[in-house]
């Protein structure tokens, strides 16, 4: 049976019980809910106790917000996967590449991988050396000197380095890409490209995404090299280890599967830290004020993607 519940905006006293009323109309039958303590006030309205209705609305509100959140996440995930598949298809199509695409790709690699080198090297040396020093010191303190190689290759090179690199790259390049695409969208520049029959995905997106993957792998390698070189210094100072002994420990601890998995992880990071900002940039409306909204949503989603990839690969590693 379908019935309407009309509730008014004021509180009134009825039969010595406190009554809560609102002017919303709720189709209770459609929601499949039963109202306890329900009593008719007149033909189209019901009156029930304050606590019951408060609990009901709180429950409904929380259920609705959870449902809305899940729907949003599902839709966003579905769109991202669809967009990622589209881009992957284009990556393997030879017709996607031409002189213009190559020019953009070279420029992007220069902006992302080459221009960043001084700052990246400085950060790598400072952070890497300190981190290696602390880890080596802790290992010595705990009497775990035998596990030096495993910690170095299994934790620092395969886990910490990619994470540090992806965070730096996200802060510098992903945010820039997000803002760049959003500005182009607001300025109607994407419309210009379409008018001249230039495919936006092939010309703008593909070079940036390939650049993200290439730069991520290259910068990760650079960071790892810096860390390993710092390791030579600290292993000598803390453990009194020679360079040959250090190299032997590293080679014995190196696992080919782990290194391949780490490179795949870096490429995945690179793919998503460029794909997601681009997607959010493209979703910008025609208003200038939508640019910061697009950039912040894009960045939040990039960080979520980084965590998801990291967790999934850790699970893969454990299995």
């Amino acid at each position: 049976m379908s019935f309407k519940c009309i509730i008014f905006n004021t509180c009134v006293k009825y039969n010595d019980s406190s009554l809560f009323v609102n002017d919303n109309v709720a189709d209770t039958a459609d929601r499949g809910l039963q109202f306890p303590d329900l009593c008719y006030k007149h033909l189209t309205s019901f009156v029930f106790s304050h606590n019951t209705i408060k609990k009901y609305w709180l429950l409904m509100a929380s259920l609705e917000s959870i449902g809305r959140f899940i729907l949003q996440i599902t839709a966003s995930l579905r769109d991202t996967i669809y967009f990622a598949l589209l881009v992957i298809t284009r990556i393997f199509q030879l017709s996607s590449y031409n002189s213009a695409t190559r020019t953009v790709l070279v420029n992007q690699i220069y902006f992302t991988s080459v221009q960043i080198i001084p700052a990246f090297l400085t950060a790598s040396i400072i952070f890497g050396s300190l981190f290696i020093g602390i880890v080596f010191h802790a290992l010595k303190g705990l009497g775990l000197s035998d596990y030096l190689g495993n910690v170095l290759m299994g934790l620092i090179v395969t886990e910490i380095s990619p994470l540090f690199t992806v965070l730096l790259l996200t802060l510098r390049s992903a945010s820039a890409i997000n803002a760049e695409i959003a500005v182009m969208k607001v300025n109607n520049e994407l419309h210009s490209l379409e008018a001249f029959r230039i495919d936006v995905i092939n010309y703008l997106l593909l070079p940036r995404i390939i650049n993200g993957m290439v730069s991520m792998v290259l910068l990760y390698s650079l960071f790892s090299i810096v860390l390993l070189i710092s390791g030579i210094v600290f292993s000598g100072v803390i453990f009194g280890m020679s360079m040959d002994a250090y190299t032997n420990i590293l080679l014995n601890s190196a696992n080919f599967y782990d290194i391949v998995l780490t490179l795949v992880k870096c490429a995945l990071f690179g793919f998503f830290i460029t794909l997601i900002p681009i997607r959010f940039g493209l979703r910008t409306s025609d208003e200038l004020t939508s640019i910061p909204v697009a950039v912040s949503s894009g960045m939040v989603n990039v960080f979520a993607a980084i965590i998801i990839i990291e967790v999934l690969l850790l699970i893969t590693k454990i299995i």
């Binding site: 031409n98 002189s99 213009a100 695409t101 190559r102 020019t103 760049e180 500005v183 182009m184 300025n187 109607n188 520049e189 419309h191 210009s192 490209l193 008018a195 001249f196 029959r197 230039i198 010309y203």
Partner: protein, 140 residues
Amino acid sequence: MHAFLDKNRTQAAPVSVDFPLISNQETWMNIALIKQYHENMPKDESQQFVFTCLRRLGIEHVAFKRIVALSEEEAFCVMLLRAAMIQKAIIVIDRPFIIIPHLKDVCFIFQMLEKINDLYYSCHVYDYKWMADKYGDLCQ
């Protein structure tokens, strides 16, 4: 105008404020992009070609400038050259006096078109009726 652009999709080359230049690229790259993308012309070759074209319009000094640094006339010329890069281009100039508001008549536009007349197939100018006096005898 949009119907005309749709009808001549492969050759139509708009010059309009609705189709702005790409702001994160230098001037020469905006023009060379069309040749590089549609004809796969190598970067160096397309750069040389664009420089020759810019020289013909007397604005080779803007080649390495960004779009925001261009004057209205220079921006119009760059838009015109970009349009002319399409093979057998049918250039469609949309409300030129919005692109260069201070122009008194259409002479400047025709002078520029004259300088690159071998680069395009035909040219159409769209404007409001009340701008007819700016076009002189052309609108009779």
